[in-house]
Symmetry: C3
Subunit: 266 residues, 3 copies
């Protein structure tokens, strides 16, 4: 019984996601459906790519991950199906799958061209239902990746924002803001450990865009209520939080803002 996850920008107000599930259950009646999220901001390809990258590895191998964030629907953009480290991926060729594909050791990417799998009549506005869902359901029901279309290495890759070495420590940036207002950065646990090494464990400090600083703590509760703190979050990345508050609202952080991590002066 395969698992099929869904990640879209369709929201939960309309019937779009429900309709996709109807088509999936027609073709793969025994699949277990899991909503990853449908609240990706409309057309936010990077947000969807990051959500998929952050969660994919927590599912069993063999899971099919379907992503429909597709501002170019109906245009000439291609459709992709891939296998990477035992996970199956289906989505538009706009970069939305590329952060998982880049992480994967062993990756096969195919262009979806087998129109016999598609729902007919094919709409021009809802390839989620008419193209991606049928292919994802086919794979979840045990279909072969080789049947969806030809191999390709020519697909859209989103650049991953790399951390830069600074005179003292490293400079990263905010790459995602979560529902609690925590600002997740691209600074990994490893990079944090390299910076704070030799200063004894938790003695890093975070420099915010405003120039103010906060400590690097073990958890949100490492500081008093209302105080900012840098923590290694659940994705293994440095995030800026305010205990019991919304750091993005309080500190004015936005995606792309620089965050510096440096050893705490002794």
């Amino acid at each position: 019984m395969a698992i099929l996850t869904l990640t879209t920008d369709f929201g939960s107000r309309d019937w779009f996601v429900g309709t996709m599930k109807g088509v999936i259950l027609q073709r793969a009646p025994r699949v277990t459906l899991v909503d990853l999220t449908h609240e990706i901001a409309p057309g936010d390809i990077r947000g969807a790519a990051f959500a998929l990258r952050s969660s994919c590895r927590y599912f069993p191998r063999g899971t099919v991950h379907l992503v429909v964030v597709d501002p170019g629907v109906g245009s000439a953009r291609a459709a992709l199906a891939a296998r990477t480290d035992g996970h199956m991926l289906v989505g538009p060729d706009n970069g939305v799958l590329s952060w998982v594909v880049a992480q994967g050791g062993s990756t096969i990417v195919r262009r979806i061209e087998n129109t016999a799998l598609f729902l007919q009549p094919l709409s021009n506005t809802f390839h989620g239902r008419d193209v991606f869902v049928p292919v994802a359901a086919y794979l979840a029901a045990g279909g072969r990746l080789g049947q969806v279309g030809p191999l390709t290495t020519d697909f859209v890759r989103l650049p991953w924002p790399e951390v830069k070495q600074a005179r003292k420590g490293v400079v990263g940036e905010v790459i995602y803001v979560d529902r609690f207002g925590n600002a997740i950065t691209n600074v990994t646990r490893d990079a944090c450990e390299r910076v704070t090494e030799g200063c004894g464990g938790q003695s890093g400090r975070v420099v915010l865009p405003s120039g103010s600083t906060c400590v690097l703590g073990a958890c949100y509760a490492s500081v008093q209520a209302g105080r900012p703190v840098g923590v290694i979050g659940s994705s293994g990345l440095l995030e800026i939080a305010i205990r019991g508050g919304n750091s993005v609202r309080r500190l004015g952080l936005r995606i792309g803002h620089p965050i510096r991590l440096e050893p705490r002066p002794s």
Copy 2:
């Protein structure tokens, strides 16, 4: 293993939908539950009727569709269960099922009166849990429609807004606004094709309430970013969109606003 879809105006903030699912799983443990949407605006019977009409046919035959948008809960309004083209429908007698029933070729409608199926004690405020869910679960578990109550032909029918012939082309109206801000109208693909026939394919134009016009395109990407376009959407109906934007916000469209489709002047 039957499928049971849920459409309500209960939102996702409270425990109402979860509680309904608990009762369903007590009575039909092997059912597959699918949320169509719980974000129907409170009491919006037409919105729910349209959501159901738009998605129902994408589910396998034998699916039970439960709709609880029930502003008259606890009053004397009747409760209905129906079968239409192999789909089962359960909901209050306020018109919410009537757009699917009207589409169906072969339809049986029964009034829910078999109180032995109800949850006890019966509340006066949550017939979703106490009346509709037990009946829907009974049907999903293989129960017979004939057991829920007597046949009826006397139930509330919502009038479907009909398109009017104009001197040039047709005049329809906005009937639904989706999460992307696309304004869905009652003008069908057939009506569009009749208007544009003889003008060669896509050469229709849409006249908005403001008097401004936009092209009838094949997909959202048929126009430049930020430009309005009329497309045949995924429900087979003309919708007004702005590429990469929110047409309802930008064009001031509302449910009920007239939309004219006419051949493009050559």
Copy 3:
């Protein structure tokens, strides 16, 4: 095939809930997942405790209820697993389980200390995924409660706000506001019946904080549209509603506001 319900304050925007489901399905592939709600206000322990209390008994015995509203994540707060009246409960020791536990006739509470069950590496910010989910999945897959850790009677209990006897009738308070804007109080059906007894059925009246009053009706439709009404809601508690409107917005009701119920003067 066990049922596992999820109640969190994680919202539906991010991938947190989806990730938890991935971990659950790794460990208990045949479980049926039900979202109770993920829209508890961030850190609102009382809201979550009330949601669980209101819905728990509608699920079959043997259901595992997982609650992750955990503002103290990463601090020294304990983690609990309990069985009460055949229902299994898993969550942080911050009171969130205590209103169900208090209702239960036969209750066993254990402190989660068996780290062999946890996900590794253990994060400091997401015990939902790394601690509570693995334990809940273990129980849903048939694991024994005795294996999760030692018995305890020393856990956080939220005080339940008790109704007070007044000169005439009783005084309760608003304890929850639902999505429709109905203000749910702690006044039980029994308390209402005692007040109105001897006055013949429905002849109680509700005194609002402003001093204005409304009738105690059988259902929302007992009054004209736009008028306030007290009804015994689906949880068996008195709630203040406005027919077709939002009572909280219209009447300025807030959690903690006093609500008096008294016999209607004859």
